[in-house]
Symmetry: C2
Subunit: 285 residues, 2 copies
């Protein structure tokens, strides 16, 4: 029985993944809203950065003094043929360079699922390994750590065939045995809270390999496999406990609220969303 | 890359989990339909057995010559207080006796999720371990093996906090170190297909501990976390590969089709459903 109480987080550690306000805000509006609410970190997405322009995005983030906790996202390696896999690699190379321009602390890597029509999960996972191996040197050269994010097993088929921290860390061991920090993981409580090995694998990851910590909540019931995440505190995840584990492993970075919520939070005003994130971060994270 | 071809299954190995036809059939209708289609195995559910009467159910199954591949279901151990946990144990004891009366090859154990209002996943898992420990002797005495079924991690909060074969087998090791077959696992491809450790954990389970093999398919997209399973062949699971692994481990039992499908198969005529199960079992399993 876990009855340990945890210290509340430092409010300055809150960051917002821009997907949380994606329906109401473009890049400029997101940055302005974060300043308005004195939130110090952002994780922008490629589509919004492209829309605003890469250099302009970098400037507005820099001018606002925001930490870029991660850049979303690259990966998506598996494809039906060599051409598709090469296109994925090219996209990854560009994303690495964009992440460098933005000064991102890491580039978030979502593995990708099964190629259309395929049932070859083992093959898809080999493509992920090979793809990561192809881009790692460029990422290292650009000073952009790659944060491989295991996604929840319910997203294995169509989004990401890397589904546990153990699996992600096995890939880190294989591809970056030096453990220099060029390849690590993003720990999103939504994806990993259920994992019986979570504590052990967070310990295994350690400070060098925990490149991001994402927060939201698991709702009961959950109505959609992708777009029904909860605000921190509205679900069943013991966020303080998981935070205590990443902190015990040495993680000192920000806590990035990332809430895909098509029917609820995406429909609300950005100020309400950010005020709620701040309050919940202090009270239940 | 998996390119190995597998032998088709023996058609006589097909069994039907009664949930697959639950909306169209009571116990009698299910048994009659299985006879009509010369399907040799059934896995009945407690509610339908209670409705038809336990002894009458046992007689109709026996008269039809059906193998009872499993009895669904017991478990559901976590509860908010001692009284709730005791009620769960009492239900489990009754289910064990019913399974014995029915001549079931095993009693399917679904762990149960978080008690209402709780975020204590570690505590819930301890309740599962303790509950299994409480009922195991009675099950052994009744000659009813307990088949702990890890459910997909997306069902962790509300249905089952045992979510991987590794976790289930760790419990088996802890509670039944003799490996005599009193406690084992049910391998349902829907719940475990995504697991990077699947092959290794099936090997680890071995013949003694694989008490059931359940088939259906993972649809892309999946519209509901519980009731949108696919007919074998309509999704992305490489069923023959997983079957080859359980067979390599020594499993020689039946292949139980268990399809929760509120919007599709549950709405169809039982004959159509069973004919399709038979065809798909031969062609894609």
């Amino acid at each position: 029985m876990s009855t340990m109480k945890h210290n509340p987080p430092n409010p300055e550690q809150l960051a917002i993944n821009a997907a949380t306000v994606r329906e109401s805000c473009n890049m400029r509006q997101t940055v302005d809203a974060l300043r308005r609410h004195r939130i110090g970190g952002i994780s922008p997405w490629r589509d919004k950065v492209a829309e605003a322009g890469l250099k302009d995005s970098a400037k507005m983030i820099r001018d606002a003094g925001l930490t870029v906790t991660g850049y979303c996202r690259a990966g998506l390696f598996p494809a039906r043929d060599r051409k598709g896999r090469q296109q994925a690699l090219d996209e990854n190379m560009r994303a690495i360079e964009e992440a460098a321009t933005l000064g991102a602390q890491c580039l978030v890597i979502v593995a990708g699922g099964l190629p259309k029509g395929s049932k070859d999960l083992i093959g898809a996972r080999e493509m992920v390994r090979d793809g990561l191996g192809e881009i790692l040197d460029h990422a290292r050269g650009c000073g952009v750590p790659l944060a491989l994010e295991p996604l929840h097993p319910m997203q294995c088929a169509d989004r990401a065939c890397v589904n546990t921290l153990r699996q992600a860390l096995d890939l880190c061991d294989e591809l970056d045995s030096s453990k220099g920090g060029a390849l690590g993981v993003a720990v999103d409580v939504y994806h990993v809270w259920w994992d019986p090995e979570l504590k052990a694998q967070i310990e295994r990851a350690g400070e060098k390999r925990i490149l991001g910590f994402h927060i939201c909540d698991w709702l009961v019931p959950t109505a959609d496999l992708i777009f029904d995440r909860g605000m921190m505190g509205d679900g069943v995840i013991d966020i303080p406990m998981i935070r205590s584990w990443v902190e015990a492993a040495g993680y000192r970075g920000m806590h990035e609220a990332e809430i895909f919520s098509a029917k609820n939070w995406w429909k609300r005003d950005v100020d309400e969303v950010l005020v709620t994130c701040k309050m919940r971060h202090e009270s239940v994270c």
